[in-house]
Symmetry: C2
């Protein structure tokens, strides 16, 4: 039996422990092809390298597991794998495991989800996994266990190839995780500020991003934030049609602007 | 009467002629505050600089027109302006004029739209303008004329502050542009490949992105691609809720995976 070919990437970089956990999760399920940024690309969103060339380095190559690093972005990694490095399109693309939540509007900024969305745009079923724990020594054991069940079942049942799944895992021990909820993206925003710093060497003023998440509907049902708060793994199906259909009729008045 | 405060940015960089055209378009309509990347950030999408600091340089400061450059991304520019540089939130944020189309799925990759979407996430009505002409000496005169009418009317009538408008202008002389169409995002994809190059100096192999746009519904009505093809300015209202609502019911079977 031919094993499924699974493409892996992330945005925390090829040496991140979340990527190692993803390899552990998926090794029993298929042949793995990994291509990930050579450094952290957290916050890379769906960016592509269009004004420069990109370098690729082979780290490991075997029948069941190949690992490459790339100087580009997570979305670059997916395009590189599918256009240059793989013999055929993968059966599944999986991104992560991200160190930290990508729930709510973080999906917009996330390089992890940028890679997954790119794969779905190419017609490849895709999943981004994130563990809601930023720490470097985060415990990925529950993510490995439940992620493997999810991927195994999706490989058997199939999933739509024009969406990706934004899967966030609460930072809980295995036996405290209550199950899975299919959710919508929570309404919220990052109340972020750039704060001024003075470079100690040059005296130059620079700015550094910092901020906190503001949940605009903390009591809402059916959102990813609420599912996570209640101990569930949140799954948001994600598409790439940004049209605000509910505002189209309202904006029709613009069609008279040149009359 | 207090003039509106309009925040400007782009992804082609602070010295792009499309940004100069945008300043010309908007100067009669308000006080302009410009902050744009110090180099081209085409393809930056919604990326943020999270692992490094960002530098800001003042280029010009006057009552009606201030111009800053920034080492970060277009979305960084919007966050910097609103959190550090402006006395209060702007009445409107306008990004562009992009050198080249941002219709269809290009909205996902576009740094121009990354800045506009970021502004809408902060509750600021926002517009991204793109001229469907990549050339450096593109003629922005029709964009300036019609863009000014659009912005002046929107400042008077108002527009929702939780969406942005992805406005693309066909590369036609003023008198050939037929009007405005409110559209949905066309279904299509970039059939892109990374192509291998050999660095002439080092002999090192690198990869460069190239590709072409594949329209998956060339005859569809109501899309931005069709409007542009027929000589209209296309306006797609854009939101930042990526939930694929139409797939939620279908994916409910995942909730039984751990049973």
């Amino acid at each position: 039996m031919v094993k499924p070919l699974i493409l892996l990437s992330n945005d925390d970089g090829v040496s991140a422990s979340g990527l190692k956990a993803l390899i552990t999760m998926l090794s029993p399920l298929g042949d793995l092809f990994v291509i990930a940024p050579d450094k952290s690309r957290s916050g890379a969103s769906h960016s592509l390298t269009v004004s420069d060339t990109v370098k690729v380095a082979k780290i490991k190559e075997s029948e069941n597991l190949s690992i490459y690093s790339c100087s580009g972005t997570p979305a670059d990694c997916v395009k590189l794998a599918t256009s240059c490095l793989l013999p055929h399109l993968p059966d599944l693309m999986i991104s992560g495991i991200n160190h930290g939540s990508n729930s709510s509007v973080s999906v917009i900024y996330s390089g992890t989800m940028g890679a997954a969305i790119e794969a779905s745009m190419l017609g490849i079923p895709a999943i981004g996994f994130s563990l809601c724990d930023h720490s470097l020594d985060a415990d990925f054991s529950a993510s490995i266990k439940y992620g493997r069940i999810i991927v195994e079942k999706l490989l058997n049942i199939g999933m739509p190839n024009n969406i990706s799944l934004n899967i966030n895992i609460p930072p809980l021990p295995q036996d405290k995780i209550k199950g899975i909820k299919i959710c919508r993206q929570n309404k919220g925003m990052w109340d972020e500020n750039f704060e001024k710093e003075t470079d100690p060497l040059t005296g130059e003023e620079t700015y550094r991003l910092s901020g906190y998440y503001l949940n605009e509907e903390p009591e809402a049902e059916g959102t990813d934030e609420t599912a996570l708060k209640n101990g569930y793994i949140s799954v948001v199906p994600v598409h790439f049609d940004l049209t605000a259909y509910s505002n189209m009729e309202q904006m029709k008045y613009m069609e008279t602007f040149f009359n």
